[in-house]
């Protein structure tokens, strides 16, 4: 694997009324595990089903029902841990987090407080070419999702939908290594990208399959470095946790608001109270949900229905051997093997489907040309119609065929664009279409020479101007290509014009 080296970005600084402040942010990401069945029951996880149709006796906590771990969800958590270069704990255990709520049928959530399945790892979050934040992962644990309470269907009654109850979540907990709203959004974006590459979470934030709790505190410049040197949290400010956000935009806005709120309190001589807050996007503000004193006492204890989860190193090794190429490695390879710029490599690796598409187009061809075609022509065209790469009417093989015709000098760039449009709308083999429709550029020097001579002879004024300023010779090239119906090879024409004009 290729290693990219980075320098750390400068933290965001907010100028208060009295002095400057820095932000310190840690995140807990709840990522729904991609799995057909729930974490402890065989019920389906399909989204959008009729309310209460994907519910087993275990999910709705009927008397005497017992949880049985879904091995695939464990595999997904291990795969995620490996993807974040994290320590895999061969022995982990499940605990009960006890609280009452109608969408929590058991009266407790099965989670992993004391012994999570995944330990320390890291995520490299790029903030620009050669600039990246290394965010340490503290742990990943498996837990059950809750159901959904519906309060707006009836004036007097609340309803509950247990379809989501018991669906497996991975809670990915970072250290407080994130230093600004943009970094926070970039961290979620990167994590989402990695999870999607791994196939362990679909990253669909709109459906709530990826949600973030954000811990925000502010401190004076210099304090964070003391924390980093000692890992002593007393150097940092009191944090507030903003719960359950499912949009990159809201995450940034909420952090921005929350930081300014805390700064205003501190500069006023007040103290930030540790509490849980909710972000209201309509008003762009965070509001207190519950204070530390009101915080639930969850009475965690080991779940006696489940034995400690023991996995074997050989099983982990087998998962590791089947790991896909991850974004950082893919980007490095694209840059090294295909000569891509940092920017293009980022664009082409953002989504796995697009990266795979590009990889297939570029393999054995000019990487830069392939990148231009994929990014400018294909992505542009798809975006115009609101399509995804997976819906592209032009396959990688077809686009490769077009690029091959350009590389062979068979067609010009202009013809290629026309050919692309035909393949996009009508389909077909590019080489056959070009052949059938006479899309073939003229490289026969004699034929082009005649056209050049003719145009030079007809435009003496232009000849004089070009001799005075050779940059104007391009006019002749354009005229020649036009005269040949666009079929003349521009490189050949250029050379001939220069020669005839004696430039």
């Amino acid at each position: 694997m290729l290693d990219l080296t980075y320098t750390a970005p400068t933290p965001k600084v907010i100028a208060g009324a009295r002095h400057d402040w820095e932000l310190v942010i840690g995140m807990e990401i709840h990522a729904q595990v991609s799995s057909n069945a729930k974490l402890f029951s065989g019920a389906s996880t399909a989204f959008g089903a009729e309310p209460n149709s994907n519910v087993s006796f275990v999910d709705c906590a009927m008397p005497g029902m017992l949880p049985v771990i879904n091995e695939f969800c464990v595999e997904q958590a291990v795969r995620t841990g490996l993807g974040l270069k994290a320590r895999i704990n061969l022995v982990s255990a499940f605990d009960r987090k006890n609280y009452f709520y109608p969408d929590l049928p058991q009266g407790y959530q099965i989670s992993q407080l004391y012994h999570p399945i995944v330990g320390e790892g890291e995520v490299i979050v790029e903030m620009g070419p050669g600039i990246a934040r290394r965010v340490r992962i503290e742990r990943i644990h498996l837990e059950q999702d809750a159901g959904k309470s519906i309060h707006d269907m009836d004036p007097n009654l609340s309803f509950v939908d247990f379809n989501r109850t018991g669906v497996a979540l991975m809670e990915i907990v970072s250290r407080p290594d994130i230093r600004g709203p943009e970094e926070a959004a970039a961290y979620v974006t990167k994590l989402r990208q990695i999870l999607r590459y791994l196939g362990t979470c679909d990253g669909n934030m709109q459906n709530g399959n990826l949600r973030a709790d954000v811990n925000v505190s502010v401190c004076r410049p210099g304090a964070y470095e003391k924390y980093q040197a000692t890992q002593d949290f007393s150097h940092l400010g009191t944090r507030c946790e903003i719960k359950n956000m499912n949009s990159m935009r809201f995450i940034q806005a909420a952090i921005e608001y929350e930081a300014r709120r805390q700064i205003a309190i501190l500069e006023d001589g007040g103290e930030v109270v540790q509490e849980t807050r909710l972000y209201d996007p309509d008003r762009n503000e965070t509001r207190s949900m519950r204070s530390k004193e009101e915080a639930h006492d969850y009475r965690y204890f080991p779940d006696p229905d489940l034995l400690p989860l023991e996995i074997e190193q050989a099983w982990v090794d087998d998962i590791a051997a089947r790991m896909p190429e991850l974004p950082d490695a893919k980007k490095a390879r694209f840059m090294a093997d295909y000569g891509l710029t940092d920017y293009d490599a980022n664009v082409l690796t953002a989504e796995l489907d697009a990266a795979n598409y590009f990889d297939a187009v570029a393999r054995g061809r000019d990487g830069k040309m392939a990148a231009n075609w994929v990014i400018n022509e294909l992505f542009g065209r798809l975006k115009k119609e609101g399509h995804d790469i997976s819906e592209s009417p032009v396959s990688a093989a077809q686009l490769g065929g077009i690029i091959d015709l350009i590389a062979a000098g068979t067609i010009s760039g202009k013809m290629a664009k026309d050919l692309f449009e035909i393949v996009y709308t009508e389909g077909g083999d590019p080489a056959q279409i070009a052949e059938a429709r006479g899309m073939k550029q003229v490289t026969d020097t004699a034929a082009i020479e005649a056209a050049v001579d003719e145009i030079i002879a007809a435009n003496p004024e232009q000849v004089a101007k070009s001799k005075a300023n050779p940059k104007l010779a391009g006019w002749f090239t354009g005229q020649v290509i036009k005269a040949t119906g666009g079929k003349a090879n521009p490189a050949t024409v250029n050379a001939l014009v220069a020669k005839k004009l004696g430039l």
Binding site: F57, C60, M62, P63, N98, F100, P102, Y108, R299
Partner: protein
């Protein structure tokens, strides 16, 4: 159809099995005889839901199977089922008002296995609410009554499996299912002069049994003889993929292990079980039991289980802690009782009123104790310390087993059955002392069996407990079989009901 046989309800499972196979009685007649005894036994309040239609349908199916030959041992055997077991379509309330009207759409693994083996369900049996109690007096159905009595004094059948014990002792059924979290099979068995075994934790599936304390709960048979316990346990036991704590270990032929030969086996006598203030009759019974084992050729050896005195406090931390969480699901949202709400009441009031109305005082007490010991700031002092004690108790047993002890003989209870209502005003801890000899076995996950050995001065049955090595129920049953044979306990409660 065979000739009518009277009194078949008093048969043992083994005798009934042989008679059924020989065609000397039909499963239907056997069942009818039990149903009649049940109807005549209402004063015992042992059965809280009678299921005669199901029983007769199962009996007819059993007869068909018996005719075909090759029927399993439990085929056609009428049983009572503790109300803690979920039985499909049949009220299963754990003797609690909070599950009033609850009829599960599923069958517990244990009852499903028994029914697959051809057993017949006569109905559901009384018990302490959520299996919390030692006298069956916390039941929402009122207490069951011990068929044994002294003069006009009505006695407890023990608990929590009090209905099971009363029903078997009074010959209302041939056997019954029980569950044992801290002694709930063994104590009532001792109080009613029957046999009850709590298997090794993990031997019998907990799936479909209403949970009390998940790390301690284990189901087992309550029967008239050790042989019957061996036969019935064989049908109840086995790995269940639906219970993660169920062990994937083969189930041996327990009955075949009843050789009666225990020569050279080492029986440990733990000195810590000789409690201060232990009634002389219990001590004498224990001494007789020791003699019986020695006479049978076993080596009797004094042993020490040094952490025994911490077992009861540890148990009364761990069991309520797990219960407080296990019983959180009874919230009035999805099934069972829901309180009528006043205008303006919200979800908190719904929880509070529902649970205040639905749970009885003892269950509420344990939920509160359990919530307290798990709460922030107290967790280490109580729950974690209790877990450490539990580990030490387990190690005590492992140590003596490693030193060659094959089984341990102790009293089953500190007294004979006590009078109903006598403990009503007592400190709850006094009631908890009933479990003093039995809780160690649950904490260590070991198999334990209670065997009736004699009568006290008032003519009430007393039992001894044998504790075995994990997964060695077969050997344990053989030791119990020897004790049973030597004790020659044949007394029955005089029928007064």
């Amino acid at each position: 159809m065979s000739a009518k046989v009277t009194g078949a309800n008093s048969w043992t499972i083994a005798a009934a099995r042989d008679a059924l196979r020989k065609g000397e009685i039909s499963a239907v007649d056997l069942t009818m005889s039990c149903l009649a005894a049940i109807d005549a036994g209402d004063a015992l309040n042992a059965f809280v839901h009678k299921t005669p239609e199901i029983a007769l349908e199962q009996a007819r199916a059993a007869d068909a199977r018996l005719k075909g030959g090759d029927a399993p041992a439990m085929c056609g055997i009428p049983l009572g089922i503790k109300d803690l077991f979920c039985t499909r379509g049949v009220p299963s309330q754990a003797a609690s008002n909070i599950l009033r009207g609850f009829r599960p759409e599923y069958e517990s693994t244990v009852t499903a296995k028994l029914f697959e083996a051809g057993a017949v369900m006569l109905g559901k049996l009384n018990m302490d609410e959520f299996a919390m109690g030692s006298s069956n007096e916390t039941s929402c159905y009122g207490n069951a009554v011990n068929p044994w009595k002294v003069d006009d004094r009505l006695l407890t059948p023990g608990g929590s499996s009090g209905g099971s014990a009363a029903a078997v002792a009074a010959d209302l059924c041939l056997g019954a299912t029980g569950t044992d979290t801290g002694g709930s099979i063994r104590q009532p068995a001792a109080f009613t002069g029957i046999v009850g075994i709590k298997p090794t934790y993990g031997r019998v599936s907990r799936w479909g049994i209403v949970a009390f304390a998940s790390s301690l709960d284990q189901a087992g048979p309550m029967t008239k003889t050790v042989r019957d316990a061996a036969i019935m346990l064989g049908a109840m036991a086995g790995h269940d993929p639906k219970d993660s704590t169920s062990a994937d270990i083969p189930v041996p032929d327990f009955e075949a292990a009843l050789t009666g030969d225990i020569r050279g086996k080492v029986i440990g006598i733990p000195k810590e079980y000789r409690m201060d203030g232990m009634p002389g009759e219990i001590e004498a019974l224990w001494a007789r039991g020791i003699e019986m084992m020695r006479d049978a050729g076993a080596e009797v050896r004094d042993i020490s289980l040094p952490h025994t005195k911490y077992a009861l406090p540890a148990y009364y931390v761990i069991a309520p802690a797990e219960a407080s969480s296990n019983l959180a699901r009874y919230d009035g949202v999805r099934y069972g009782h829901r309180a009528k709400l006043a205008a303006g009441d919200g979800i908190t009031e719904m929880y509070e009123k529902t649970r205040a109305e639905g749970f009885g005082p003892e269950v509420q007490r344990r939920i509160m104790v359990g919530t307290y010991v798990l709460s922030a700031g107290f967790y280490d002092a109580y729950y974690n310390r209790a877990r450490k004690v539990r580990a030490l108790i387990k190690r005590d047993f492992e140590t003596v087993f490693a030193q060659g002890v094959d089984a341990i003989l102790t009293p089953a209870t500190p007294s004979a059955a006590f009078g109903l209502g006598e403990m009503a005003d007592a400190d709850p801890v006094k009631m908890y002392l009933n479990d003093v000899f039995t809780v160690t076995v649950n904490l260590a996950g070991l198999p334990g069996i209670s065997v009736p050995v004699g009568l006290d001065g008032q003519g009430l049955p007393l039992g001894l407990q044998l504790i075995g090595r994990p997964w060695e129920e077969a050997d344990l049953l053989n030791y119990a079989h020897v004790l049973e044979s030597r004790a020659g306990f044949v007394a029955k409660a005089g029928k007064w009901w």
